[in-house]
Amino acid sequence: MSNDIDLLRLDRRRVMQATAAAAGALLLPGTSFAEDAPRKGGTLRVAMPYNPGSVDPMTGRNLTDFNVLYGVFDALVDFEPLTLELKPGLAKSWKFADLKTLVLELQEGVTFHDGSPFNADAVKFNLDRYKNDPRSNVKSDLSSVESVEVNAPNKVTIRLNKPNVGLPVILTNRVGLMVSPKSIQEKGPNVDRNPVGTGPFKFVSWQDNDSFVLNRNENYWKPGLPYLDALNMRIISELNTVVRTVTAGECDVALNLQPQQKVVADRAGGVVTKVFPSLVPYLAFINYGRPPLDNLQVRQALNYAINRDEINKVAALGLGQPSSTILSKAHWACDPETVNYYTYDPAKAKKLLADAGHPDGIDIETIGWADQTAMQRQEIIISQLAKVGIRIKLTPLSPQQAVQAFMIDKKGAMFISPSSPFADPSQFYENLFGKDALRNAGRVELPGFRELLDATMDTPDQNARKAAFAKLQRFTVENALSLVQFIAPAIGVMSGKVQNYKDGLPATPKFTEVWLSA
């Protein structure tokens, strides 16, 4: 009897011991009384500044759509965010039988949110749709695909009309996202607002420019995932307001921010800011199909005349990576020697200009964006170039007007803007410098470019590909085909409760493995 009472008795000594132990544990770095193991449950409240135009991968148009797309859909091929290394997705393995034949083995036992089965028929349906539907924005991603064959319920063969070893990488992106064929058959061809996939979260509702609600997919094929009960996404177009929702505790995560918001968040305190390298280069597209920028020396003068470190410090608050080339140095296809190829050398720039026949300087008509951050960046560039005699005549426009003016109406010689990134580096080069590329306003391919690009597509060996990309990259940098300033950082702000938030080079965070501590 007295023993029982002894056990229960909390005398002063025991309480002190327990408290000391607890305090000691708290002092040890890396330990906390919060669980280290992921906790299931909770609704993650996300704030983001962009409203997707559509959550059908086929008709959507912006990178930021992936905030929702990767929640509702899985891709055939998955990737590691920080290294871009490929991992199995809905396809558990893939192999090039020969350079023009890709065989995919699919995961089994996966169902779409509406209960219909995911299988080879579904894969064929989706790929054919992406390639042939009149509303498809992504046909060009599958331009090398000739046909898709169903060999077995879990096996698909893709036949190509030309070698494209970048196809597995492309299948991590829009054309690899699998939409339920049943949903398209039942809801009609326009499923822009009715996404049904195999992903960790099911679509519940979407109020334009206001909110997205996604609930956990209880039958998700990856065991134990996702941890979250639901995703509640708010769309708020003013960036500082987006950050305010997190600092005020109204949301848990803020996405797609600019460097300026990191300062706002740090000043408010009580939140965690995460900075990742991204794939988005801030550059100037150049029309090198006509004077004055058809002259190599003038283009190189531009590249020597800008001070990339200064631009990075002012425009990206030092969080970006100054670069002479479009690929981040963290990217596997980037040749590190090209990153700082053009040093800041105004004297050399002046000399190149003089050699090119412009001893008294040159005027360059330039298109740019009109918002405050862009104007700040543009003003720095203009003042740096003015020092070597390059006089920029800037026309600021809204982003879509600017695209129209420079890329379609062919106005101006340069367009200062960030570029959207692409899944496979070959797409990057094709879409920036290829003859038919929209962004290549001059519609001119320099001799030698095409052979170098083709060489990156027909060798499946990663190392050989890397070497081929290095050559292509040197070519584009030595020929100064664009004026790259820096690679942008991807910035997220979140409360301390958000665990395991992973973003990376593609700047498309996935919430599959995110959990909320208590």
């Binding site: 607002r193 334009d208 206001d210 307001t241 408010a268």
Partner: protein, 317 residues
């Protein structure tokens, strides 16, 4: 009574031509705005060929009058179409967003009405005193203050600082009335300040004029108390002016809402029409303009009817 019914009938009859005219003007202006919705629709994957395909797919290559005509025909049937950019039904968009804007506009109007009139009356009944000078000065300041700046100050102090109010968003009025009011308070206050200032000045000068009139002096001479003079006779005489003022301020509130909705991330029609106009999403812009025209005309009609009831001479107009 018959006169009022005739007034209402006349106004409703004018509604349709005004809607057609207003939407036609807005549509024409939109055409002048540089930019191409097809480019936005093509997005990151744009190519010249894709843009041309999209233009054809959405009928954007049709002649201007044909595009307007098609829209008008559908609108008359009650079909406001779908957003070019997001395929969302325009009616659904407006139905969801209009109540949020209406809530802050009405809330602001009520605050402004109560405070503005009170200040105006206080100043008018104490002309020449320090209070009058203070109120007049405050009114001038209120007119000059940018509502955007004031909104941010309010958020920083009352929301982020003291946690009295939420920082952003809106709550549905029907299911969460208290939440809706809390969310709408700071935006409404920010919107109301300009209107308070305007009302205070106008009420003050109108009331001063009335209180100095022969009619009021006669009443005072007859021994009527100053309270009765003010409330029963003074205010009634300026009531028509006041109503007209309030009606005019509604326009100001709707346009001010665009900015306030951005600061507070309120899903309302102000931010809707601003975003859509920038992106040349013309079905949405046309739909919102149509609804706003109807609202403004109905409010003007309400003001006129109330004026006629308060002062039968107004019904002659």
């Amino acid at each position: 009574m018959g006169k009022i019914l005739r007034l209402v009938g006349r106004r409703l009859w004018q509604l349709l031509p005004i809607i057609v005219f207003a939407t036609f003007v807005v549509f024409s202006l939109l055409q002048l705005v540089p930019g191409d919705p097809a480019v936005v629709l093509a997005g990151d994957y744009a190519s010249e060929q894709r843009i041309a395909e999209i233009r054809q797919l959405y009928g954007l290559d049709q002649p201007f009058l044909v595009q307007y005509g098609v829209w008008l025909l559908h609108a008359l049937e009650g079909n406001l179409g779908r957003s070019l950019l997001t395929s969302e039904s325009v009616s659904q968009l407006i139905l969801y967003r209009l109540p949020n804007t209406l809530l802050i506009a009405v809330y602001a109007l009520v605050i402004a009405g109560v405070v503005g009139v009170a200040l105006g009356v206080a100043a008018a009944t104490r002309v020449g005193t320090r209070l009058d000078a203070f109120i007049t000065g405050l009114a001038s300041l209120g007119v000059a203050l940018p509502s955007f700046w004031l909104a941010m100050i309010l958020v920083a102090t009352l929301s982020l600082g003291l946690h009295w109010f939420p920082t952003t968003g809106a709550a549905p009025l029907l299911t969460d009335p208290w939440g809706a009011i809390m969310h709408a308070t700071l935006p409404a206050v920010a919107l109301a300040v300009g209107v308070i200032a305007e009302l205070a000045r106008q009420v003050r000068s109108a009331l001063i004029e009335v209180l100095n009139s022969q009619y009021i002096r006669t009443l005072r001479a007859k021994g009527l108390s100053s309270g009765a003079v003010l409330w029963k006779h003074g205010l009634r005489n300026i009531s028509v002016t006041l109503l007209t003022l309030l009606g005019l301020q509604v326009n100001r509130l709707f346009s001010g809402a665009v900015v306030i909705e951005a600061v507070f991330a309120i899903p309302g029609v102000g931010s809707l029409v601003a975003n859509s106009a920038l992106n040349k999403d013309f079905p949405v812009v046309q739909g919102v303009v149509l609804v706003l025209v109807v609202i403004v005309i109905l409010i003007n009609l309400l003001v006129d009817v109330l004026s006629a009831l308060l002062d039968p001479r107004a019904a002659e107009a």
